[in-house]
Amino acid sequence: MESVSDTSWDVVICGTGLQQSLLALALSRSGKKILHVDPNHFYGGAEAAFSLQDAESWANEVSAKDAGLFRSASVARHESAAGLSSRSYSLAMAPTLIHARSALLSQLVSSRAYRQVEFLAVGSFFIFRLPQDSAQQPALIRIPSTREDVFAATTISSKAKRGLMKFLKFVLDYQNPPQLELWQSHAEAPLTEFLQQEFKMDAELQTYIVTLTLSLNGKITTRDGLAVIRRHLSSMGVYGPGFAAIYPKWGGLSEVAQVSCRAAAVGGAVYMLGAGVQAVETAGDEVKLELSSGDTVKTRILVRADDNPSEQTGISRLVAVVGSPLTSMFEVVVEGASRPAVAVVAFPAGSLSTPAGKASEYPVYLSVHSSDTGECPVGQNVLYLTTLSTPDSRQLLEEALEAFVGTAGEGQPAQILIQIRYEQLAGSGSFQPEGPVITFPSPSFSLSFDDSVLEPVQQAWKRIMGDAAAESDYMSFADREGAMDDDDVYE
């Protein structure tokens, strides 16, 4: 049997994060000799999903290493959580929503990989609203996001409704002449400003719209904001009534990455865990790699991802498991819709403050995942909180968590069973498709899948395939023999 060292590989892919795994999928029918390695002992890289024990050992590793893109990771179990079964959890490092109009979904369909992924509906978006006066309680306000929804909403005045309706109509056609003129002069200005000036929206309505963009700094430009809102609205109802985005069961993008690797393995790719690239030496047309497993391998092309952190930007994350079903978060709001498994709550900038009294500068987003996602046992929920890193961001995440469990708990605050905290940094490199070593950018922070993540993958594919690459063949495969899903036709 040929060993990994004796084989002359066409491609060595290092890391099993989303981009590398999608590349492996894209190459799965190419006939290329592919060695796919990962320094970790788990699949998924920065997009992995963890059992409790995996999360604990990952956090220990991160603390011991002090390099790479992750920092300050810790796992805390509440004492009542001592008996929890570790493997009943599949906690996602990248709990990213995918809009129905995302090119990722069309690629998963055309490559047939989607058959192995179960997708669930993402339901309502909420805003956490502070009390207007001391007699009120803080509340979660559902954002209406279709016209029917706006009509039915009881929380907004009829004047505001008209403004909102006008805006929704505008966005659906915003790239065409009369609408184009309205926003182009505002293109680089914050979306909020545009909404205020052209649609006379008050601060609350502006917040609704900005929340739908899931902008991490809350300052998305008019140009980007309109594109994202348009995607949101045009995604509504594509795969069924009442939802715009979907979520892969069992850990989000982790599942997409693994399904891609499985398809690559079926295509003959060889997989090695616990084998990172330690040294790279280019000699002529060949790259010689030393793997941490001790093997030395030769390849034409090496693909890896940037993990040199920049100190500029990062996000703080808090993952909390709560022992309450939180059913009010997952109500079916459109007739005939299926029950959503994910809800999103935004804490707008300024709605939280540190114990020292400093107001939050950026929004905090909290995704609520029910047990239907397979990420926790029945009767519990996983909460994923994200905000841009600041000196206060960890405290603000705590505040947001506390505020949420106090507001969303049925009657009494939901009990927090597990908390995982970490910081994730952006990389410092840019994508380089030339030469024998291709380096992907570091993982995107976007809370809703950003299609630009797909571009480097396709370019790397093109580079590897050379003249054999026909754009129309990209990710376009027939079902493999025996793997037909005849159930897609109702019997």
Binding site: M1, S3, V4, F42, Y43, S85, R87, S88, S90, A100, L105, L108, V109, Y114, Q116, E118, F119, L120, A121, S234, M236, G237, V238, Y239, G240, P241, I246, W250, Q258, C261, R262, A264, A265, V266, G267, G268, A269, V270, Y271, M272, L273, G274, G336, S338, R339, A341, D372, G374, R480, G482, A483, M484, D485, D487, D488, Y490, E491
Partner: protein, 234 residues
Amino acid sequence: MADTGNAVKPSSSVKLVLLGEAAVGKSSLVLRFVNNDFQENKEPTIGAAFLTQKCNLPTRTIKFEIWDTAGQERFASLAPMYYRNAQAALVVYDLTKPTSLIKAKHWVAELQRQASPGIVIALVGNKLDLTNDGIGNGADGDGAGSDDSGDARKISTEEAKTYAEEEGLLFFETSAKTGYNVTEVFTAIANAIPETSLKTTRGPGASHAAGRTEEQRVNLNGPRDPNAKEGCAC
């Protein structure tokens, strides 16, 4: 959504993974189950293979999504991505080859440590046709004499069965070559999967069934059309 559900049984999919030493007959068992066929010189699996097959139970249809993995050592890293979220595993050994049972025990231990807590595991001793007790009476454990001359059997039914009982595994001896007991393994697995862990994915009765999880899986293969009102055709 009235009771139109009598005509069509609810159907659920079950993810199943095959593990075991190289050449014990994993792919042959799948080939027998899916195509009712056998190949004398089946080539080793490279990486993994994916196949589907339905299993009809009295009250429901189970659609197996079968991941057949390569047993060769160089593919050992693959297993975790295939047993992840699997509801069932078939751990196969060759009952004429003692090392293959040791390997099978390793897989069972790894599954018990790493796979989903409720995973149904079946231990399968394959190549029963090479033993004297041959076809027709091997699986019950009666008359499982192990050392008759000319008998290639190296692992007694008793030994494997005792181990399976201790670990709470289903246990079968099979022959992919003759087909003996092959369907039985899959049917037993289908029956052993707890009803509650079966998500009804298709068919009437899927939604609004009282006390059960309603239809939730989003179908990407449906019409990708925003105007397709109330899309699901049920």
